[in-house]
Every structure is written in C-alpha cells, then in structure tokens.
Amino acid sequence: MEKATWTTKVGLAQMLKGGVIMDVVTPEQARIAEEAGAVAVMALERVPADIRAQGGVARMSDPELILAIKQAVTIPVMAKARIGHFVEAQVLEAIGVDYIDESEVLTPADEEHHINKHKFRVPFVCGCRDLGEALRRIAEGAAMLRTKGEAGTGNVVEAVRHARAVYREIRRLQSMNEDELFTYAKQIQAPYELVKQVAAEGKLPVVNFAAGGIATPADAALLMQLGVDGIFVGSGIFKSGDPVKRARAIVEATTHYNDPEIIAEVSKGLGEAMVGINIDQIPTEQLMARRGW
C-alpha cells in the first residue's frame, strides 16, 4: 500500500470537478454549505471581503477552528497557508486537512519562494493568472490550480480575465512547433517539459477551478463555459442576503452550466448579492492577485 501518491493527490481534485467549494468561517456555515451540495469547504477565520475591509496581516486560521469545521462535515476540508509559509503548511498537514490552499488572499510570508509542495503528503491548490504561473506552481508540486480572480470583490471580471488567459495560451501552444515551444517556455518562465506536455495533450495536467469574485449562479456558469473544472465561492455566499438559497443555486448552476433555462430558474428570488467593488477603485498595492510570482 502506497499513501499520498501523485495520483491520489491529483485524484481528489478530480473528484471535486463540476462542484462548488465554499468559504466558511464557522462549523454552522460548513453544515449549511454541505447541506446545499458543496463538494468541499475552505475553513477560514475571515472571508476575503472582510480581510480586505479590515486590512492588517492575514494569516493561517486557528487550528482549533479548522478542526471544529472538520468535525462538523463529511466533505473534504481545505485551509489556507500564506504564500511561502511552509511551517503553516506543516501545521495544516499535522491536523489532517484534506487540501492546502497556498493563497494570495493571505499576506505573503516570502516574496521570492513559494512552498516546495513536493515535500508534503497533503496536496496543494495554488492560484494562477496565466499559463506560466500555472505551470510554475505545478513544477513546485501543486496538484490542483485555481485562477485567482480578485478575491473579496464580488466582481467576476478578473476571474474571467485569468481563465481566458490560461485557456487562450493552451490553444496557442497547440499550434506551435518544437522550436517555438522552447522559446515560449522561456517567455512564460515555465519548465519546458510541462509546456511540451500541455501542447501535446491540449489541457493542463491538473484540475483547474475558478476563484475570486464569483457571486451569482450566472457567474459560476460563465466560468464553467469558459472551461474551468469547478468553482470556488469565497465571500459571495455568506456575504449575501440569503446564503442557503444562493449556495444551492450556485451548485445547480455549476452542474447545469450549459442549460440557460435551469440557470434562469435557480437565479430567481435569491435576494441581495454581496456588494461588489470595482477593480479600478482598489489601490494597486491592495490587489491580491498580484501576490505570488
């Protein structure tokens, strides 16, 4: 018997496909998410919208809170570590979380190095804005990706930008010959072997979800139609008027993303969505997507 193999790490992400992963800050919210059909929860002390509003340094959540959330549900529980903070990751592995998100939503702990994720038995998900960033994270051992979007804004524009960038670049790769692939790998600062593999297979070697700004069922279906494998909803659910109804609706829209009649039906009477923020009104140094390299 071999535990924590690459196949089992990537495999858990494959089991989450077509599903919605929801940010939760209490065991009660975790239960609501599970009841609504979430495939996993992200255990946090503050959702990104509050991190953004309150400022200061955002760190790994209290292990006690994460364990309480783990107790409350049967679905996988993920938790966030700061970029480069491999000891936070060690702590999260020690308490048995199912996936670690090395996340730009928290304040980075290292401005040069991401965590060497190959050293861990627990799998990691990482954010990306384009193909180069995606492949750098995979090279470091990420077993799952998510496009970054701009967390805590309720504005889907950055999530769309990043998803489009990743899939556009994959399509471009497929039309290149070997000489061009060498140069392209250099340009996007990605390992040549991974670039070659993506060009040959026409897809990323790991599952890629969308994140950062998804607030409505139509937002979720939009990203699914653009080609992502599933959806992270952070502040969008528990910062809205009717979290239970909205959570269910986003789950259904993610499954039936190609069926406008169903998306219309589940979008009815959801109450108020979270208040959105326009990206150009956020000072550059407060943009989370720019964290990570």
């Binding site: 535990k3 494959q14 089991m15 496909k17 239960r31 009841e35 048995g96 789950v251």
Partner: protein
C-alpha cells in the same frame, strides 16, 4: 447499446474518456430525459452528498430505482458505490439521500482523511488473473454483504473493495483514473 455517465458532479469525464477508447460514445446524464435514453449507467466518483442532493432535486432517484438491475445496468465507483448501498454508515449529519439498491453496508471515509488515500493492488478474478492498480481516494469501505450480493474484488488483506448483485456493480476504487479498462469492459458485458 446506449451507455450513460451520471454527470451531475465528479470525475465523469474520465469515465467518458475510457468508454470512447472502447468505441462507445457515452451520454452525459444530468436530467431524467437523458436517463430515459440509456441502458447502462456509470455513477462516477465525486461527493456522494452533492450527487445525492442533485439526484433528488432533478427527480432521478425513482426513475433509476424502478429500472435498476432490470433494463438498466449500473456501476458505481467510490461515491457511486455509496449511492448504491442499502446501508451507509458515517453519513453526513441529518442523513443523505441514496439509491439504496445493493444489499451491502458501506462506511464513508473509512480510511481517514486525504492523507490516508492510497494505491494498492486489487485482486478481481472475474476480469483476469493480473491484479488491478486500485486508486482509493477518501474511499468508503464495504463492511458487510447481504443476500444476493457477492464480493468480486479484494485488497491483499482480504477486505472487500468490489461487489456485484446481478446487473449492479460497486467498486470503492477508481479504475477510470488508470489505463486499465478491464472493469469498464466487464461493465459493458454486465
């Protein structure tokens, strides 16, 4: 022969890819009208709570139950096996909807958290002498088999990881994540 893959959530695309390699064009089943077209149905790996909830909302539990084992052969992998079992232990609080078609008891997340996910050889004589590479991800465990339900796959320690009841098949592991398509071929003959 029309083969469907339940596409509400989970790794349904991986199953579809194997079927296409075997020359079968699968139908993705999300609604009762697609279910009505298929003679065989694979329930993929995923989250059993999510899939069970969507089966309920989109009114597919009864249509599947009515036809199961008769004009509808079903194979469940991992979450799919949970949905097929008559008794599920360690369910989510408040219980969860299942199809309850095979006479077996299954325990959810029986091996622990993701850190305890593993790969191990599976002996499955009905598909040949060579063991399968079994991929177990937050896998359930078959803890008891009832009347009419027979064990067809084992780990080295003798624990049951695959069971069959007539035209219903359950595996707690994921053949769709490997290159070995023998279980898919068995299902197409079931």
């Amino acid at each position: 022969m029309t083969v469907g893959v339940l596409a509400l959530q989970g790794d349904f695309r991986e199953h579809c890819t194997v079927l296409r390699r075997l020359g079968v064009e699968p139908i993705e089943v999300r609604l009762p009208r697609q279910l009505a077209q298929v003679e065989r149905l694979i329930i993929p790996g995923g989250e059993s709570t999510t899939i069970g909830r969507l089966l309920t909302i989109y009114q597919m539990l009864e249509p599947i139950r009515v036809r199961a084992g008769r004009d509808l052969a079903i194979w469940g992998t991992c979450a799919g096996a949970i949905l097929l079992a008559s008794t599920v232990t360690d369910q989510k609080q408040g219980g969860q909807p299942t199809l309850s078609l095979m006479n077996l008891t299954i325990q959810r997340n029986a091996y622990g958290s993701q850190l305890d996910s593993f790969e191990a050889p599976v002996a499955m004589p009905i598909i040949g002498e060579m063991p399968l590479r079994g991929v177990f991800i937050r896998a359930p465990r078959i803890v008891a088999l009832g009347v009419g339900c027979e064990a067809v796959g084992w780990l080295e320690d003798g624990s049951v990881v695959a069971a069959r009841q007539g035209r219903l098949l359950a595996t707690t592991f994921h053949p769709e994540l490997t290159d070995d398509d023998r279980v898919h071929r068995l299902f197409l003959e079931l």
